[in-house]
Point group: C2
């Protein structure tokens, strides 16, 4: 009942209140080592009575293990990353790991700064999006000795662990699907693909696959900023103004594709007979539109889960391909 007014309670105070040694309190609280039931009860009673909250900062310093996992992600607006965080968070939580994050806005320079800042917390692992990082980032990461997990991309070389799928393969599958459906005048509407390297890889692989079949991309419209539904809508409008006779559009992701879908609805362009639409990501929302979107479903939550589990298991360096699924939908 009588909680100390201000001063933060320390383990030493709990020990004194319980009439035992500090290390005994520590053992009981971490349920590590051996102690009698009687001691356990006395300690817990004191903890309860004083309202003791362990100081993990001190604990981490003493044991050189922070149980912190750092996420350095490009964005929180793109649902992909919250999904990954969600998957990983669920797994980490059960082992009493905490998640720290920082957002890079797709900027390698900022990524480097954020990684440095995170490393200062001596995390158990750092999770990053993609395989492309600055020289400095890679160097710091290697020197840090902590686990590194690169997510959502397998088209390249990983530093340590990598969990994801091949963006290039997904794009090729999309291209083959669209050609198989008979589309011949295919356009692309995308967003900044220099900064979003995964979108860039998809675009490159998609174009290559079309060319391999002798049906090169007919037109493209690239929005300078981040992907969004609005950018997709505007992008399609602009592209159609320039190149009206397209029969299908490959979008850089589902957000963009939804924008295109809405544009067609607003303009009375019938899908897919007049214009087919194909996306990427497999957002939940895109399954519920009047016509389900044709797209690639990526296992984003699973990527987070598997990544977290690998870290918990202290697995050896490896690359895990979680694949993707082509959703035929009704828009292409």
């Amino acid at each position: 009942m009588n909680v100390k007014p201000q001063a933060t309670v320390t383990l030493a105070e709990v020990a004194e209140a319980a009439g035992v040694g500090e290390s005994t309190v520590s053992r009981v609280l971490r349920n590590h080592g051996s102690f009698s039931q009687k001691t356990h009860d006395r300690v817990m009673a004191a903890v309860e009575r004083l309202g003791y909250v362990p100081n993990r900062i001190a604990g981490a310093l003493a044991s050189a293990g922070s149980r912190l996992v750092a996420f350095v992600i490009p964005s929180l607006s793109n649902i992909v990353f919250p999904d990954v965080l969600r998957g990983a968070g669920g797994v980490l939580e059960t082992s009493h790991y905490q998640s720290v994050f920082a957002v890079t806005d797709y900027d390698p320079g900022r990524e480097e700064a954020m990684v440095a800042a995170m490393l200062a917390w001596r995390p158990s692992a750092v999770m990053l999006a993609g395989l492309e990082h600055s020289e400095g980032t890679a160097k710091m990461l290697r020197a840090s000795g902590c686990r590194v997990v690169e997510l959502l991309d397998l088209d390249g070389t990983a530093l340590d662990l990598a969990v994801g799928f091949s963006n290039a393969a997904a794009a090729r599958a999309s291209a083959e699907f669209m050609l198989r459906r008979g589309y011949r005048r295919i356009g692309y509407v995308g967003h900044d693909l220099v900064r979003d390297t995964r979108a860039g890889k998809r675009f490159a692989a998609f174009c290559a696959a079309l060319e391999a079949e002798g049906k090169p991309l007919v037109g493209r419209e690239i929005h300078a900023g981040a992907s969004s539904v609005e950018a997709g809508r505007l992008g399609l409008e602009r592209l159609l103004a320039r190149v009206p006779d397209l029969d299908a559009i490959y979008f850089s992701n589902d957000d963009m594709a939804l924008g295109g879908y809405f544009h067609c609805m607003a303009r009375g362009i019938s899908i897919p007979s007049q214009l087919a639409i194909f996306g990427y990501n497999g957002l939940d929302m895109a399954r519920v539109t009047p016509q389900p979107l044709s797209t690639i479903r990526t296992p984003r939550v699973a990527v987070g889960q598997v990544a977290a589990q690998l870290v918990l298991d202290d697995a050896p360096s490896q690359t895990i391909d979680l694949g993707f699924e082509l959703i035929e939908g009704e828009t292409a």
Copy 2:
């Protein structure tokens, strides 16, 4: 060039390498206190050469200031919370604060556990969603001595700082708008409003406002789980099956409303002449649908920004109302 192979570099090693005292290195690195330019250069050179990364765990312990801000949020699937994180993260970053987060799934018991876990890191502030917390959560928070910011709800009593808007007022504004537009047989499609207390408050205030005008709610359909586009679509379908002659629907949020919107499109129900739709949140996407959604725009990113700024400024306890904006849209 020659980075030590494994062992983590400490400040003491940097001090020795630079030929200065430890406290001097500390002062230079934190740019705090005075030192000569020459010393500064020598220290920075040593830092560079050894690849030193400060250990903030040790720093936090020694200075009793973690510069960590803890977010305990209900969900990452609902874009509302990533938006808040984004706003706060942007502001915190400039002051070298780090964000830690945990997800409660709208469960007060889990919230309590997560708050306890976060408090163990001695954060500078804890940010929570809403004003409803368990007895234990409130007690811990008060005893912790750290700043507490309750977000996105002002209808109740705050523990310390509160930043948001009144959900009740937003719901009343929605009701009045719908009545003014002439809708008379209004239904509600929502999600779990016991766990999502803010949605619950909106629902209650909305019903009260309708009743005050003698036009009580005609029907309701409540999905047991979290909000989603799919739940909105199914909810509307079910509600219309039971109560076909509605002329407008108030949805618990924009995700649900989009689901309803898609249902109408799929069934050829014309909006708003046959059925009007009104949402809540003002998602970007909802502005780009063929008809922009009628809804309430909430300043989610600003909530995060202001909350973070208050913490940085060590502002006195207060409540800040950031208001909301009614978007007339074309669906109601």
